[in-house]
């Protein structure tokens, strides 16, 4: 389901590139965030 402006961001457990695991909400609550979903690195 698409998210709209004004919605609460969806949380999830995520795997980071350094091999660690985190909650997305924990990352987002650190400050205003630009979250970009890529098609590729580079």
């Amino acid at each position: 389901m698409m998210i709209k402006t004004g919605d609460m961001a969806t949380d999830a457990r995520v795997h980071l590139s350094d091999g660690s695991e985190a909650s997305l909400s924990g990352l987002l609550r650190q400050g205003n965030t630009l979250l970009v979903f890529l098609r590729h690195f580079g």
Partner: protein, 130 residues
């Protein structure tokens, strides 16, 4: 969107940048070290987060069409080389600005592979959070 070239503008606004990719941790770490050590990168090869945020897959015309070809050529002319897709080549991209209370303040769902918001638009939207 070549985000790493414009990260200083966004980080200057106090915006943290998190990237989500379908590649492996090894690919993601190589990208992060080469372009921007300050980026946080989430590896999502099974596209769990892509699906949770409602990001869709393109049809064939979302990948190859007169519009995507023309925009691709335009990007090449400006010195932006196309990247090699990692993971699902049909997966489309998306951009969200989320405030510290987890409220989505801006979202952009790509309609085809050439459909990315400009960095000026992102900076304008991010500036509204200050």
């Amino acid at each position: 969107m070549q985000l790493h070239r414009e990260k200083d503008r966004l980080e200057g606004l106090g915006i943290k940048i998190i990237l989500v990719g379908m590649g492996t941790p090894k690919q993601a770490e190589a990208f992060r070290k080469n372009y921007s050590p300050s980026f946080v990168i989430i590896c999502d090869p099974r596209k769990v987060l892509y699906k949770a945020y409602g990001l869709i897959e393109a049809g064939i015309t979302g990948i190859v069409s007169p519009k995507t070809i023309m925009r691709g050529l335009g990007a090449l002319g400006r010195g932006y080389l196309p990247g090699i897709p990692s993971g699902d080549i049909f997966q489309l991209s998306g951009v969200f600005i989320i405030d510290r209370d987890m409220v989505v303040r801006y979202c952009h769902y790509a309609r085809d592979i050439s459909d990315n918001p400009s960095i000026d638009e992102i900076v304008r939207q991010a500036s509204a959070l200050i």
